[in-house]
């Protein structure tokens, strides 16, 4: 059978210290994200959301790699995790892209010219 090299009969036991370190980091990042949200960034206020998402991504990465053992997992799991994130990015990215695109006005003069030249209602 096509097994990965990681035979699961001998479990990879992660040392306690690793779990505690990850836990501590998660706590630190939680405090950090609340702090960043509360301070006044002045003209850079728009940075609040990107920063919050960045910190959340770091926290999620810690959980995925260590608590969920992907760091020690097979390459196949890596591939599927990355594929899932890519697909989510497609869904969000393309959809939001439509809404951004709706605000881009076509060149009004070009628009005017074609509308003057041929009104589709008269063509019918």
């Amino acid at each position: 059978m096509s097994h990965d090299a990681h035979a699961a009969d001998s479990p990879h036991i992660v040392p306690l210290s690793v779990y505690l370190t990850i836990f501590a980091l998660l706590m630190v990042f939680t405090v950090l994200t609340v702090w960043v949200a509360l301070i006044d960034l002045g003209p850079y206020g728009w940075l609040h959301t990107p920063l919050a998402l960045l910190i959340a991504s770091v926290k999620a990465t810690l959980v995925v790699l260590w608590f969920m053992h992907v760091k020690y997992g097979s390459r196949l799991v890596w591939v599927f995790v990355v594929a899932g994130l890519a697909w989510l990015a497609l869904l969000v990215g393309i959809t939001v892209g439509d809404y951004v695109g709706r605000t881009w006005e076509p060149d009004p003069h070009a628009w005017q010219a074609s509308a003057d030249g041929a009104d589709f209602r008269q063509l019918g």
Binding site: G101, R102, P106
Partner: protein, 577 residues
């Protein structure tokens, strides 16, 4: 083909199935998956993938029949320009139900849940799916979704169309939208679980020697479809969930009155539902690769390209959903990008078609029933796919959108392509599943009827649509009556073509000649075991040493006697190589 004439087939070269009585009579294995246990409980609690496949076969046939009945009503109503058979309210419910049943309860599960379930583990040389209980659960979930949908009919039906567009579905419709939505939502999970099982089975359960490049193309196609099931279905589940929540609690997510955007629903819906059309067609394409190679007695041309194009379709298919929204108010820049990508997605489909044609080239083709369906698929799918390009072109779509041209386009693909592929699979694997041959004469007759009936039904719809007849109306100006009458006439022939197989296949269960292990002398692990297969598929775990589709060597319709180790009898119909 000139060299075909040079080597005429002698009577002895014909496959044994043409004879009234097979020489393999008596070869039915004493114990197989059908007779290891009897009684309702042995079926309802089975975790054997083969029995679950049969459960699915029966249920999707029932839903297909109900969906077909709705089609009868639609075509009857459209026989005359006036809306005289039913009211608009009823007509809306009829076509909605037709779409919901056919898409979600027949076509999406059809080939994966029946033939994928039955043959995928056998093709990779496994005893079962990776998660047999999850497999059974998926059938129960499917049935539960079906119950909700049927309950919605009793509760007055739904009139939104199979697409459940907001805000009509979420705010205005006075029909049982929530019940149907819940039914479709639940049903989605059966599809997810089937896909999940496929992927794990293909990754982890392959027999020794079954490398990726030795997998049958049917397996590749189902792998690609399973990826779509896993990545797409949850999004439509969420979309439909949000509609249901909005309806039940007045929580306005797509509600324009609160500033919500109904078109957002279309994004979420089509993110799944365009790829979903590939869930329907990819497994059919997998069947094509098996059938065309077998009845051309030739190694499939371009194995790697066909396998890779399945994955390409699954991937690129996720990037084109906006072509359903060209006239919805979507940004024209998004439309432009979606239009270009739509052109792109036609490429891998075309790659497959050309590879099948190259496989036929200089093969020794014979015209058994499955092959007739395969030819039907080739032509009809091509027409459907090419008309998709008209629709993907921004300017032409403004004219064609929501007309009968669309209806014809997707029926050419979903009925002409996917259902023809499904029927090819039924006829190809029926002997393996039941151990019996069906009547070849009746099989060919109904394949012919279906092809004629199909074209007569749907070709006129291209013309009507081009002339501007909108879809989803039950009355129309008189100048379109001739075309509509033709279409209804075709639908009657089509209906007959669906009824006949039900009769002769059922008849074959008892009276059909014994098929033997490999009546088509096909390659593939599923043909190396008895028909019907034993409970655990193979007597011993098979070891694969050959490339797929090796039709250059003689293949026999016989299993060596257990333990005898005797030379297999050479087939009487050793193929020309």
């Amino acid at each position: 083909m000139s060299d075909r004439a040079a080597t005429p087939k002698t009577a002895s070269e014909r496959p044994p199935t043409r004879r009234r009585r097979s020489r393999y009579e008596g070869d039915v294995p004493r114990e197989h998956y059908l007779n290891v246990a009897y009684g309702l409980k042995s079926w309802l609690f089975t975790i054997d993938h083969k029995r679950i496949a049969i459960l699915y076969l029966l249920s999707i046939t029932a839903f297909f029949a109900l969906g077909g009945l709705m089609a009868v009503f639609i075509r009857l109503e459209l026989l005359t320009p006036a809306g005289d058979l039913m009211t608009s309210e009823i007509y809306n419910r009829v076509f909605t139900l037709h779409g919901v049943l056919m898409v979600f309860f027949f076509l999406i599960p059809s080939i994966p849940a029946v033939f994928g379930n039955f043959f995928l583990p056998m093709m990779v040389g496994a005893k079962d799916m990776a998660f047999p209980r999850l497999n059974l659960a998926s059938w129960y979930i499917y049935s539960l979704g079906g119950v909700f949908t049927l309950a919605a009919i009793v509760a007055g039906g739904v009139d939104t169309g199979w697409t459940f567009y907001t805000p009509y579905s979420s705010t205005y419709s006075n029909s049982a939208v929530a019940l149907t939505a819940i039914g479709v939502f639940i049903n989605g999970f059966s599809s997810i679980f089937t896909g999940l099982n496929f992927i794990v089975t293909i990754h982890k359960m392959r027999a020794p020697g079954m490398t990726w490049m030795r997998l049958p193309l049917f397996v590749w196609a189902n792998y690609a479809a399973a990826l779509i099931m896993i990545l797409g279905t949850p999004v439509v589940a969420m979309a439909i969930f949000l509609v249901a929540v909005e309806r039940l609690f007045g929580v306005g997510i797509f509600d324009p009155a609160l500033g919500g955007d109904p078109i957002l629903y279309q994004h979420l819906f089509w993110f799944y539902s365009h790829p979903a059309v590939y869930i329907m067609i990819l497994p059919s394409m997998g069947v094509m690769s098996e059938v065309i190679a077998c009845f051309s007695r030739k190694r499939i041309f371009g194995y790697g390209f066909i396998a890779a194009s399945s994955l390409a379709i699954a991937t690129v298919g996720f990037l084109v959903w906006g072509h359903h929204m060209f006239v919805s108010g979507q940004s024209i820049y998004a439309s432009m990008v979606f239009s270009v990508l739509t052109m792109l997605v036609a490429v891998p489909s075309a790659v497959k078609v050309f590879n099948w044609l190259a496989t036929l080239w200089r093969g020794s083709i014979s015209f058994e029933t499955p092959m007739l369906y395969a030819f039907g698929f080739l032509g009809l799918f091509t027409v459907g796919g090419l008309t998709g390009l008209y629709l993907g072109t921004l300017a032409t779509d403004v004219h064609l959108h929501d007309t009968y041209f669309i209806v014809a386009h997707f029926h050419y693909i979903m009925v002409g392509g996917a259902v023809m592929g499904y029927l090819a699979a039924v006829h190809f694997w029926w002997p393996k599943m039941t151990g019996r041959m069906y009547s070849e004469w009746w099989g060919r007759l109904s394949a012919g009827l279906l092809f004629i009936g199909f074209n007569l039904t749907f070709f006129p719809q291209f013309l009507m649509g081009y002339m501007g007849m909108p879809r989803r109306y039950h009355f129309y100006p008189e100048e379109w009556q001739v075309l509509n009458v033709l279409s209804t006439a075709g639908a009657s022939i089509l209906g007959l073509g669906y009824l006949i197989p039900i009769i002769y296949l059922t008849y074959s269960l008892r009276y059909g000649p014994i098929a033997g292990p490999n009546p088509w002398r096909a390659t593939g692990l599923e043909w190396t075991t008895a028909s019907p297969p034993p409970q655990h598929n193979f007597e011993q775990t098979p070891v694969v040493t050959e490339e797929p589709y090796d039709y250059s060597k003689p293949i026999v319709n016989d299993l060596p006697a257990p333990g005898a180790g005797a030379e297999p009898k050479p087939s009487p119909a050793a193929p020309r190589s």
